[in-house]
Every structure is written in C-alpha cells, then in structure tokens.
C-alpha cells in the first residue's frame, strides 16, 4: 500500500469523521465540540500542506474505487486541486473559529457544526475529484449539506430562501447530470486530463460536444451565480454570517467556478474549446454578469445583499479569465479563486461583526462605525480596496493579469469590461468606507450587545477577521514569491499549456 495514494482519502476523512462525531455528541458538549472541530481543522491543514509540497515536486496522489462497471470514484491531487484545497482548508479553520464566536449561546449548534464539517468535506471532494463522476457526487453533496445551513435559523424567510436555493441548485444539478452522462456515453471516459481529453476526439461530434458543453456549463453556472441563474444567491443572504462567508468565498459559488475551470481546461481543453467556438459566448456571459452584478450592488442598502451582488460580479472574473483562452488570462482567472475567496470572506466576517456587536445590517446605519470598531473596519477597508483593484492588494494582481491576458489574446473589449467594473466597484464600496470613517455617528447603534471585554468585540470574531485581512495585502505584496497564489496559478497554467 502506498501511503501517498491514501492522502486524498485522509484529507476527506479529516472533516467527515469529525462531522460524524459531532452529530453523535450531545448538544450541550460545546467545549468538546470546539476542540474536535479546531483540531480537525489543524490536522487538515497539516495534511494539505504535506500534499502541497508533494505536488510541487510532482509526486502523484491518486486513488481509484470502482463503483459501477466502467465507472470509478477517482481522487487525485494535481496543482489545480491543491489550489482550491489550500483555500478551503485554510478558510475552514478561520471560519470555524469565527462561527464558534458568532453562534455562542444560540440553539442547534450541533446541527450547525455537523453540517458545516460535511460541507467542507464536500468541498474537499470537489477539489480532489479526478473525474466528472466523482466531481458530481460531491457537487450534489454540497447542495444537500448547505441546505440545513441556509435554513439554520428556521424562520419563515430563511425557509423560503432555502427552497429557492434548492430549486435552483437541484435543477442545475439535473442539467449537469445529463451533460455528464451524455459525455460518458460519447467518449467512454470522464477522467480529468491535463490539456483536456477531447482535443483528439474525432470530428463530426462537434454539434453534440457543443450541446454537452452548454449543458455542463449551465449546470455549473447555477452555483457560480452567472446571470440569469443567480437568483438564489441574494436570497440565501438570510443565512448566518459564517455560512454566507463560506458560501461566497469557498463552498458553493467557488465549487461552480472550479467546475467550469475543470470542464474548460481538463475536459475540453482550452484550445479545443476555442476551436469549437464555445469560449467566446462564455466570455460574453461572464462579462455581462460582471457588469450586472456590480450595477445591482449599487442599489442595495442591506450590507449583506450588496456583498452578495458583488460576489455575483467577482466570481465571474474567474470564468472570464478561463474563457478568454490565453495563458495569461487563465492565470488571472485561476488566481482569483483564492483572491476573491480571501477578500470576500473578510467582508462577510466584518458584516457579521457589525451585526453581532452593534446590530448593524444596513449601510445607512454604518455612519461613524470606524470609531467604534476600528480594527474591524480597517479590515473591511482593505478588503474593499482589494475588490476595487487598488495596488498592492490581491485584487489588483487579478485585474492586471486579466487585462494583459486579454490584450495578449487579442480581446481588447475585455479591458472596457474591467474598467467599467472597477468604476462600479469603487462606486459601491467607497461610500461605505467614507461613511464609516469620515461621517459622525448619528443616534444610537441599532442593537448594541456587550461582546468582548478587552477588544472591540469577541476575540473569536475579531482575530479571524484580522488574520484574513492580512492575507489580502500579503498575498498582493508577495505575489512574486514562489509560495504566493499567483505563482501557484502560474504553475497550474504552465502544466496546463505544457
């Protein structure tokens, strides 16, 4: 038995087993639950770290389980998988810590943390999936495990949001399933291959392959929240803040975007997809989503809703970068998987701190909040500037690579999209920053709770925010170092175009 091949399984088990233990624990065993949760998160990071080192040195981690004659569950760690894996493992740790603070004293915490761990397990499975079959299994598992989190509060509004969420994602899953099965019948294989495995497919299938591509992308676009399939995302805002953070930064929308990257790069192959003529429409839809999301965000007063529309816009950068079909823009798109993740999770964490500490939910209530919560709002400001694309934050790196990638591929119209999006981003983020720091507080906070004695708020909430905000700057400043997301994205792309 080769221990390397079992590593992906261990990574998945490192959150699956805790989930089962948590469900078996008593609702009141809070401390034990937190200990199990946190240590599992650390173990996972250690495992992922070991694997990252291995993948960098081109070691193989691959595991096969036959399921049905001709179909296998395959786990494999390649560079792209590791990219998503590091993001999920890292943010799982921070989000768990944050959620412990956020949910203190509230009911049903066992159910919450149990499904939370299952949700991360699904993300792990999605990143490590070695073929579309495995990918689909975990993709659907993600839908099922996030549903209880979305409806966690059990209020009428959250139940309705949950139903909307299911309607969208299950229908998307059904379309995706048809696409995958059809592809399997057409080609006899579903295994992800560097550079795609359809590039040598015989001609004549072109129409069929185009239809299958459309089915796959439509199925994935629901979770990615590409217009017009984005309707569930703003509704799902009623979920508790750690859930929104996870949904927007790692789990759901990222799973969709990651799937699109896989389909374009490792199933169809960038070049073959371009010759089929399917990448251009995808780039157009992504661009439309970028503009539409930013535009809608302008008019939201609810902070989480504004962030939600911002997510719709930002996630499509990933899709756009991949769809432009050039190496530089691919780097930009892939690196945004991590960049968007760390920026967006900071913003949602801050929104959660505002709601939990001062009862603030609306932007109009945020006047002068910078004085009361300086560290939180500093983190918020950094992440917001990153979203706009101000150097030296990570957001700038993404936009830079998307821009030069577009020029490189001869798609100069993309620059206009980027420019317009940047302006809109500035238009909906700068007023928040302005009113938080430079306008005086008027009246009392909506609902001030005493959280935390030594700091401005509960340290379980504050420290995750500060840590992750540091990454927004560090990953930007150190983008040239070999361990940065950018360099890793370059490595992925290099192996892709090799």
């Amino acid at each position: 038995m080769n221990i390397d091949n079992w590593m992906p399984v261990f990574v998945i088990l490192s959150s699956l087993v805790p989930a089962i233990i948590i469900f078996l624990l008593n609702e009141r065993q809070n401390i034990l639950r937190t200990i199990i949760n946190m240590s599992a998160a650390f173990i996972k990071i250690a495992l992922v770290g070991m694997m990252t080192w291995g993948v960098f040195h081109e070691r193989n981690y691959i595991m096969h389980f036959p399921v049905v004659p001709g179909i296998e569950i395959i786990f494999r760690a390649d560079a792209l998988a590791m990219f998503f894996l590091i993001l999920s493992a890292g943010l799982w740790l921070l989000t768990t810590a944050y959620a412990v603070g956020y949910l203190e004293g509230s009911p049903n915490r066992r159910r919450f943390f149990g499904f939370f761990s299952l949700c991360v397990t699904s993300t792990m499975g999605i990143s490590l999936a070695g073929n579309l079959f495995t990918f689909f299994i975990f993709y659907e598992m993600l839908t099922l495990t996030t549903y209880p989190l979305v409806v966690h509060r059990g209020t009428q509004k959250s139940l309705e949001a949950g139903s909307t969420y299911l309607r969208y994602t299950l229908s998307g899953g059904a379309v995706l399933l048809i696409g995958i099965v059809w592809l399997h019948v057409q080609t006899g294989t579903l295994e992800f291959t560097q550079g795609g495995y359809l590039n040598h497919a015989a001609g004549g299938h072109a129409v069929t392959l185009t239809i299958i591509f459309a089915l796959l992308i439509i199925g994935l676009a629901v979770k990615t929240a590409i217009i017009p399939l984005h309707g569930w995302l703003p509704a799902a805002m009623v979920a508790p803040a750690p859930v929104s953070a996870l949904l927007h930064a790692v789990a759901v929308v990222k799973a969709g975007a990651f799937g699109i990257v896989r389909v374009v790069n490792n199933v169809y192959g960038v070049e073959f997809a371009a010759t089929l003529g399917v990448t251009m429409p995808l780039a157009f839809v992504a661009s439309a989503t970028i503009i539409y999301g930013s535009f809608k965000a302008l008019f939201q007063d609810d902070l989480k809703k504004r962030l939600a529309y911002s997510t719709i816009s930002q996630v499509s950068y990933i899709v756009l970068g991949v769809a432009i079909a050039g190496p530089l823009s691919t780097i930009g798109g892939i690196t945004h998987i991590v960049h968007q993740g760390i920026m967006k999770i900071t913003l949602f964490f801050c929104a959660g701190v505002l709601a939990e500490t001062l009862g603030i939910h609306r932007i109009s209530e945020m006047r002068g909040v910078g004085r009361r919560l300086p560290m939180t709002m500093a983190a918020f400001t950094i992440a917001a500037l990153g979203m706009i694309g101000v150097p030296p934050t990570v957001g700038f790196i993404t936009k830079w690579y998307l821009g030069i990638g577009a020029i490189d591929a001869g798609q100069t119209w993309v620059l206009a999209v980027l420019g317009m999006s940047t302006l809109l981003n500035a238009a909906y983020f700068l007023p928040i920053i302005n009113s938080a720091w430079f306008i005086k507080q008027s009246g009392d906070w909506p609902e001030e709770k005493k959280r935390g004695r030594f700091f401005e708020t509960d340290p379980w909430l504050l420290f995750p925010v500060l840590i992750i905000a540091c990454f927004t700057i560090l990953a930007g400043i150190l983008a040239g170092e070999f361990f940065s997301p950018l360099e890793w994205a370059k490595l992925i792309t290099e192996r892709e175009y090799r």
């Binding site: 004659p69 299994i137 975990f138 059990g154 139903s163 059904a174």
Partner: protein
C-alpha cells in the same frame, strides 16, 4: 447462462425457515419465545442466503429439485444473481421491520398474536416468489404473499383499513385470475411450466401473445403500475407502520420481479414488439403522476405511499431499453435501493407520527429536536429516492440515464431527471417543516430507541449500497454474461 443442479438445500431453507418461524410464533406467542425464534431464524436465514450466494457467484445460477423430482412433475427452486439480491433486500427489510414491530405491537396482545405468524408467512411467500423456477409455482407463492398482506393490512382494524385491505384483495384476485388464465393457455399450448424450458420453446403464435398479455396485465395490477395503482396509496397508508414498510419495499416488487424474469428469460422480442414501449410510457406517466400526487398530500404516510407509485414507474423504464445491460442494472438497482430507502422512510415517518400523535405534514412544525435519528433517516432515505449521490438511487438513475442516451431514447432521460426533481419537491417540505420554528411546540410522545434504530440502519444501508455498488452489481456479471 450456465446453471448447475445442486443438492445443497440452501434455497429450500430460505422458505422453510420463515414457515417454521411462523408456526413457532403461532404456537408459542410469548415474548421470550418470539425472541428466541427470531434469534434463530434470522441468523439461519442469513447463513443460508450467504451459502446460496456463494453457489450463484461460482456458477451463475443454481437449481434445486425438491424431493428429487425434476420438472414438470416436481417443484424446482431456481436462483441467480437477481434472486440473491431480492432475497437479500427481503431479509434486511424484514429483519429491521421485525425489530420495529417488537416495539410497535408491544402491549397490544391480541394484534401481536396474529401479527407474527402472518408476518413470517409473508416473508416465506416473498422468498418463495424469488426462488421459484416455474410459472405455476410463482402463482402459488404470490398468493401466499397476497393473503398474508391483506390480513396484515386489515390488522389495524377500523373502517378505512378494512376497506383498503378489501380493495387490495379484490384487485389482487382479479390479477391472479388473469395471470392464471395466461399460465393455463401457455400450458395448453406447450405443456411446460418451467421458465427456462418455456423460453426455449415459445414462439410468436397468437395463443402465446394472448397468454403474455394476460399474465403481464395481471401482474401489473398487483405491482400497481399506473393506471392500476389506485388501490395502493390507501392500502399502504392505512396499514400498521412495519406492514406499510414491507408492502412498499417488498410486496410490490414481487410481481415486478416475475414480469422482469419472464421478460428476460421467456418472452423474446419478436413475440411482443411494442409492449416494451407501452410499459415504458406507463412507467413514465407513473413517475410524474405519482410525484404530482405526492406533492398534493397533506398526510405524511399518504405522501410516502404516493412516492411508491412514482418510484415503481422507474422500474418499467427497463422494458423499452431491454437490450441494454445498463438498463437492466439500473432497473434492478432501483428495485433494491427503493426497497431499502422506502422501508426506512415508512419506519421513520411512523416514528414522527407516533411522537406527534398526528400524521399531518403541517403538524411537523410542532416537533422540537426530539427525533434527530428518525429525521436523519428520513433525510438519508430521501436522498436515495431523489436519485442524488451518494444514495443507491443515484446509481440506479445513472445507469438508466446512460441506457437511455446509449439507445438513443433520450426522452426517458428527461422523465428520469424530472422525477428526481419532483421527489425533491415533495420530500423537502417535510424536512423543512421539521427544521422550522414553531410558536407552539407540542408535547412529544417517547419513541423507543429500537424503532429509531431500525429506520436509520436501513437508511444508512441505502447509502452504503450507493457507494459500494460494485459488490452487488458484480453478482450480475456472472449472472448475465
């Protein structure tokens, strides 16, 4: 297909053990005696099944002649991979439901007394169907099963249970008559009852065609395929909970098993050209109709029962694609996964109803954090019924989808997917009501742990079968090729 004639009586034991248990529970109806009887019967049956499975694994199919007489005079028992899977599903469901029943009927001396003999009798009948090698034997065992079921449905007493039991009985008798006439015609034309021998001699003459129509129609009424499903929801919903589980999971599968067996082994394609397509269409209508009706139910057990109407439809998608081995695997796996998941769901629903003292879906809102295990079981079983991974139903639907695209009959794919979404549509509101916060939670009755455990074990098994599908499916590689 290679088959060997064996002298090892493992198959016969599978029928004898339940019959002995039935007799024992009739003669000694005390709790300790019942416990002792099941402590012997279930392990013994498992052991026999394991040895039978080993023989089938080695040789593909086995035949056992009771009393040393061969057909056409004697009784032949026959088993292949399909029989083994059905027997396995039966023993698992019967065992879980037995554990459930031991709590469900406790304190109800009179019903308990009639329940156990009938229950074991039902098990014997089911095993008999799955082991029969000739068409007349199938008739006899099917009747044993039906009589036991009708008695069990009516056990609950009350007008509704008696009425729906009676209705089921009438439909079943008519179905049996139709089946028996078909068998008589076949016997008149060919003088053979053995399935294997019939398959080799039957030809495309009118008598055979009429016989087949009679046989299949009779069985369709018993398996409750649309539009002959009208008796099912009430009968399944008004029976005692463990009986509902067995009816939905096992009893409707028995007549289907006979259709499937005859279709693959006896009826060749030139005898029945468009019948496959027709069954497929009826199956599709059943999927949609059952799903839509389930959406409209306000009572939990009726919802679960209508879901059975819908899920049975999937089984019939095999017939228009009968040439594809993927379709065969998908169909059999659907039978298996639905068996485990539906039994689990009925048991879980029974627990929820017992706790609430009401079977209205709306009232589930009042349930507060008492029945986590049953809720989980309901959810896990639901995953399998919706055809989502990692449930066993996902593997079934994957195979059926693949078959429909392979054979170019893509329209079935749309039905399969739509049926899955409908299932999500009627199952999630139940879960949603459980999660939702109610202003006035009601006082819940206690549910014994054994009743919850029975439900969750079946649900987990339906997931395990989804992940470890390779093992059961490999039984067919020897059986089919």
């Amino acid at each position: 297909m290679q088959e060997i004639i064996t002298t090892a009586p493992w198959g016969a034991l599978m029928v004898v053990i339940p019959l002995a248990a039935a007799a024992a529970s009739y003669l000694f109806p005390w709790r300790s005696a019942l416990m002792a009887a099941s402590a012997i019967a279930f392990p013994a049956a498992f052991y026999s099944l394991a040895l039978l499975a080993r023989d089938v694994w080695v040789s593909g199919a086995v035949r056992y002649r009771i009393g040393g007489w061969g057909s056409p005079l004697g009784i032949d028992l026959f088993a292949d991979g399909l029989s083994i899977l059905m027997l396995f599903m039966t023993i698992v469901v019967v065992m879980a439901a037995s554990i459930y029943s031991s709590f469900y009927f406790s304190g109800d001396v009179e019903r308990k007394r009639s329940f156990w003999p009938l229950w074991m009798f039902l098990w014997a009948g089911l095993n008999g169907v799955f082991l029969s090698g000739d068409v007349f034997n199938l008739y006899v065992t099917l009747e044993v099963m039906v009589i036991a079921s009708v008695a069990l449905i009516s056990l609950k007493g009350g007008r509704e249970a008696l009425l729906s039991g009676m209705r089921y009985f009438l439909v079943s008798v008519l179905g049996s008559l139709s089946y028996l006439m078909g068998v008589a015609m076949l016997y008149g034309s060919y003088g053979i009852l053995d399935i294997g021998a019939l398959g080799r001699t039957i030809g495309p003459d009118p008598a055979a065609q009429i016989a087949i129509v009679l046989i299949v129609t009779g069985l369709l009424a018993k398996t409750a395929l649309f539009p002959l499903h009208f008796w099912l929801p009430k009968a399944h919903a008004s029976a005692p909970v463990p009986v509902s589980a067995a009816l939905s999971a096992l009893v409707v599968k028995a007549p289907f098993y006979i259709i499937l067996r005859l279709w693959t082994d006896v009826f060749s394609h030139d005898i029945i050209s468009h019948a496959g397509l027709m069954l497929g269409v009826l199956g599709s209508v059943a999927i949609i109709w059952g799903g839509v009706m389930a959406l409209r139910q306000t009572r939990l057990k009726m919802l679960v029962a209508y879901s059975t109407v819908s899920q049975i439809g999937y089984l019939f998608l095999f017939f228009p694609m009968a040439g594809s081995s993927d379709a065969f695997l998908g169909c059999v796996y659907q039978a298996l996964s639905h068996g485990l998941a539906k039994a689990s769901m009925f048991l879980a629903a029974g627990n929820l109803i017992k706790a609430l003292g009401s079977d209205l879906i709306e009232d589930l809102r009042g349930l507060r954090q008492r029945l986590n295990i049953s809720t989980f079981a309901f959810g896990l079983a639901g995953i399998s019924l919706m055809g989502l991974p990692p449930g066993a139903g996902f593997i079934a639907k994957w195979q059926l989808l693949k078959a429909s695209i392979e054979t170019g009959q893509w329209w079935w794919a749309i039905i399969i997917v739509a049926g899955g979404l409908l299932a999500a549509g009627y199952l999630f509101p139940v879960l949603r009501n459980i999660i939702s916060q109610s202003q006035d939670p009601v006082e819940c009755a206690k549910v014994p742990f054994g009743m919850e455990a029975a439900a969750i074990v079946l649900a987990v098994l339906s997931l395990v079968l989804g992940i470890a599908a390779a093992v059961p499916l490999s039984l067919f590689r020897t059986a089919l090729l």
